[in-house]
Symmetry: C2
Subunit: 159 residues, 2 copies
Amino acid sequence: ARPRVGYFFIGKPSLNYISDEIKSILVEDIKSIPVILEESTSIYDAIVFMFLEDVGSIYITNNGILSGVISRKDIIRTVMGGTDLYKVPIGVIMTRMPNIIYVKPKDSVLTAAMKLIEHEIDSLPVVEGIDNSNKDYRVVGRITKTNITRIFVELGNNI
Amino acid sequence: ARPRVGYFFIGKPSLNYISDEIKSILVEDIKSIPVILEESTSIYDAIVFMFLEDVGSIYITNNGILSGVISRKDIIRTVMGGTDLYKVPIGVIMTRMPNIIYVKPKDSVLTAAMKLIEHEIDSLPVVEGIDNSNKDYRVVGRITKTNITRIFVELGNNI
């Protein structure tokens, strides 16, 4: 008999193709424009801004450096708690660094999706270090479950 | 020369594999348990329930039949508007049928993802008709961008 050379079908190759394709998509390829406010902004103004921009999370900076994140859930909790929305700045109620989960532009979107699931959050700031610092970051984008869902639709429709 | 028969590599097969794999996943395979309240519930109780269940949207029913949806965004708008949260029932502020986008258990998850993107919503009730009616639905599940992100992670990790 002829020696068996060449391709052999030994299982389901499609899952490897999918995994490789998904791993090849980078955060920088699909990130959205970030919505950012300074810490001193009042909670009220932050809420108005959230509606104007129609986003579920806002990233907060202190002189341009990422210092916090605020979500719709945080807003509801604060409003129900009776905080003075006009006087209290957003910096008081935000989730503060270092408790913020983020990604970098060269991370894979798979890494971003895993962080969204693992930490049960809706939004990840995409950051770049300032002056080679390991703690000061500039926000250059945002990745949400909407971005992931959009990729899913594109992959599913073979776009 | 021998006649050319068998498999020919004519492009990038991976994208077709991905598309086929994604289209094969059905809503009923991955749907989450729905979080449901009756129309008569007060807005205040609905907010508390939203936090207890940690969901971004609640489906509202009238005697068990889907009649509305309420999201965190709706809640913030209502609270800021000064509505009496203890007296006004959730039915007054919810998005009402027939303006609700839904999916059925046998729909593909790709269809669900496309609806989430197209209509800019976070959550879709999974419904089944009652008595072959085309307008009365029972809620049997929910699909959110979190479900889609979870599938993306599984496909990316080849699970």
